[in-house]
């Protein structure tokens, strides 16, 4: 594609050159904006058709060399990345596991509906569960302190179950997912304000 554009451009430059071949010998032609990034943009001097053809060939060669260099660089980078990944595999698994455990699913007050953000997090959790196919987890349902503790025990149960249901729907075996409701009994933040309550309305994952 790039080659064809080059040729078309070259022809566009050459034809008027042939028509008015002595008048503007020193005039340089600005390239098209799409081509400004091309290294060593050939400045065509329309003196003869033969020279032009040679210039096109030279430009093309230079371009190909550049592409080859870039490809080599990319391959090198990929190799380095792979090597780094291999080195960090152990710690990365740990990071993934920690993220799996530490990233809670949050709910609105008196609700067990999964928000878009909650579903995004759950997709990540499902991915972790697919990679770690031998892991079993417990999903804890929690509530904020408002409301009554009997109702909150039921609400926490609902939250844990809805999270489990989502993961089962995306293909995680139900047998790997236990649920437990703690109601309002285990707040992470004992504060008496919305910021604390919001942190407490959660589903939390524990790897068994």
């Amino acid at each position: 594609m790039r080659k064809r554009i080059m040729i078309c451009l070259a022809l566009l430059l050459v034809v008027p050159g042939l028509l008015f071949f002595t008048s503007c010998a020193k005039k340089t032609v600005q390239s098209e904006p799409t081509l400004t990034q091309q290294p060593q943009q050939p400045q065509v001097q329309p003196e003869s058709a033969q020279d032009d053809a040679a210039a096109i060939l030279a430009a093309e060669k230079a371009n190909q060399e550049e592409l080859a260099r870039q490809k080599a660089l990319e391959e090198e980078q990929l190799k380095t990345a792979a090597a780094e990944a291999a080195e960090a595999e152990q710690s990365e698994a740990m990071v993934a596991r920690n993220m799996f455990v530490n990233e809670d699913i949050y709910f609105e007050f008196d609700s067990y509906v999964l928000s878009g953000a909650a579903q995004d997090i759950l997709m990540g959790k499902a991915q972790w569960l697919r990679i770690n196919s031998d892991a079993s987890v417990t999903i804890e349902g929690h509530c904020d302190e408002r409301g009554t503790n009997a109702y909150n025990l039921a609400l926490g149960d609902k939250r844990a179950e809805i999270v489990k249901g989502y993961l089962v729907n995306v293909g995680i075996a139900a047998g790997r997912l236990m649920t437990i409701s703690y109601g309002e009994e285990h707040p992470v933040d004992t504060g008496n304000f919305e910021e604390a309550w919001a942190k407490n309305r959660r589903a939390h994952f524990v790897v068994d």
Binding site: A150, L153, A154
Partner: protein, 443 residues
């Protein structure tokens, strides 16, 4: 009536009672306490220090304490205005405890309508008390009893007399000899405790070292059911209080909010093993008899009508938690609460006509009471922290609840009309989830 009462007396070791007056018992016309709103006007009553008949002057102090104990118990009910002893006109010859020595003018002039006199005799460890209730205006003996018992039974004897007094004045036996179970965090974990109706003698009943919640008394007070995380998840424990036996309901999900069927060895509880929280009827041994609710979403917190034919419960079937009533024979379900978006914790009055519950509005939780036909909604607590977990006294005259009005959550009591709100007791940690028992039979 007499036979029933005597049977009870035989049960109380070392105690007997002589009836030297039966006037009016069971025939009272309850003009003393207005049943339709008994707390609107408190009846002025005089309870002078009991007359000490013992030789030992140490016993005079005990006679005073006994009179105070009787006075406190009656004051607790909210029916009475206790008159100040400083205003009493006592003859130099000492207190006149019976007719015709009593000069009733001395009592009516200070505003008293009722008078209780006591004669107190301590003989070694044996206690003899004569107690009399008079109508000072009609100049009439209403109740007279004589008790003889071991010293250690004094509190029980005095409360039995209170029970006689309340029965004479209102037609119900009152709340004396009942207990209140509740949850306290004093040990660092939520455990079940119980105290007497007036907050006296709190005792730790469970030692689970885990979260333990929602105590429920069977109507004979021999069993208690509660939810505990002792095995890592919310299971239901059904425990005999005297013998070391009981049952555990440990199904998948939650096993919670027990409520006993009045007069039966069976209970309702919320189980979620099906994946949905539904209320089930269980035997006292924890076997499922049948499912009582059937609706997607949360159904929780049953409370039986006194005849056991209906339950009030919480359901979110309408989108928000509200109180519903289900007739167990017809299966008919009606929604009871429509005001507010968060109504939970129903408790059906032992008198049958009302349901008390907690309502959250504008971020605050308050106690409300409503007639079972949905009329007569009344809020009983206002602008005083969060107020939760209401429970009726066995005579339906009072309501216990928990409140954060003084900071930490404590147990409070009030009359069923919301008057006379006061803290029941102060313990280490926080207290919540009170459950009032029936009247404990004397055995």
């Amino acid at each position: 009536m007499i036979t029933g009462f005597q049977k009870k007396i035989i049960c109380l070791t070392g105690t007997f009672i002589l009836f030297f007056s039966m006037s009016g018992v069971g025939l009272a016309d309850y003009t003393y306490i207005n049943i339709s709103n008994p707390f609107l006007r408190k009846v002025p009553i005089a309870i002078p220090v009991f007359k000490n008949l013992s030789k030992n002057s140490m016993d005079a102090q005990m006679a005073r304490q006994a009179a105070d104990m009787l006075s406190d118990a009656l004051e607790f009910t909210g029916y009475f205005k206790m008159l100040d002893r400083g205003a009493f006109l006592i003859n130099p010859g000492g207190l006149a405890v019976k007719m015709p020595e009593i000069n009733f003018k001395h009592w009516t002039v200070i505003g008293s309508e009722l008078l209780i006199t006591g004669a107190y005799l301590m003989n070694g460890n044996q206690l003899e008390i004569e107690l009399r209730l008079f109508d000072t205006i009609k100049e009439k003996l209403l109740v007279g009893k004589r008790y003889k018992a071991d010293k250690s039974d004094q509190r029980q004897i005095l409360h039995r007399f209170c029970s006689e007094v309340i029965f004479h004045l209102t037609g119900t036996r009152g709340l004396f000899n009942s207990k209140i179970a509740f949850v306290s965090t004093g040990t660092g974990n939520k455990e079940i405790y119980a105290c007497e109706f007036d907050g006296y003698h709190p005792e730790q009943m469970t030692r689970t070292k885990h979260i333990t919640l929602s105590p429920a008394w069977s109507s004979d007070n021999k069993w208690i059911a509660y939810t505990s995380f002792i095995n890592g998840k919310p299971d239901l424990f059904i425990r005999n209080l005297r013998q070391k036996r009981g049952a555990i309901v440990a199904k998948k999900g939650i096993n919670a909010t027990p409520a006993w069927v009045p007069g039966q060895f069976s209970l309702a509880a919320t189980l979620s093993f099906s994946g949905d929280q539904e209320i089930y009827l269980l035997t006292g041994t924890g076997k499922i008899i049948k499912r009582l609710t059937n609706s997607r979403g949360i159904d929780v917190s049953p409370s039986f009508s006194p005849d056991g034919k209906q339950i009030a419960f919480v359901s979110e079937r309408g989108g928000t938690p509200q109180i519903y009533i289900k007739h167990l024979e017809t299966g008919e379900v009606t929604r009871l609460t429509f005001e507010g978006r968060y109504n939970t914790q129903p408790s059906w009055s032992p008198a049958g006509d009302k349901i008390v519950y907690s309502a959250m509005e504008n971020g605050h939780i308050n106690i409300r009471v409503i007639d079972i036909d949905g009329r007569g909604l009344m809020q009983l607590t206002h602008d005083a922290g969060n107020n939760e977990g209401p429970t009726w006294s066995p005579d339906a005259s009072m309501i216990a609840f928990s409140s954060t009005r003084e900071g930490l959550s404590r147990i409070y009591v009030m009359t069923s009309y919301g008057t006379d709100q006061r803290r029941l007791l102060t313990l280490q940690g926080e207290q919540s989830n009170p459950q009032w028992s029936s009247i404990i039979p004397n055995n």
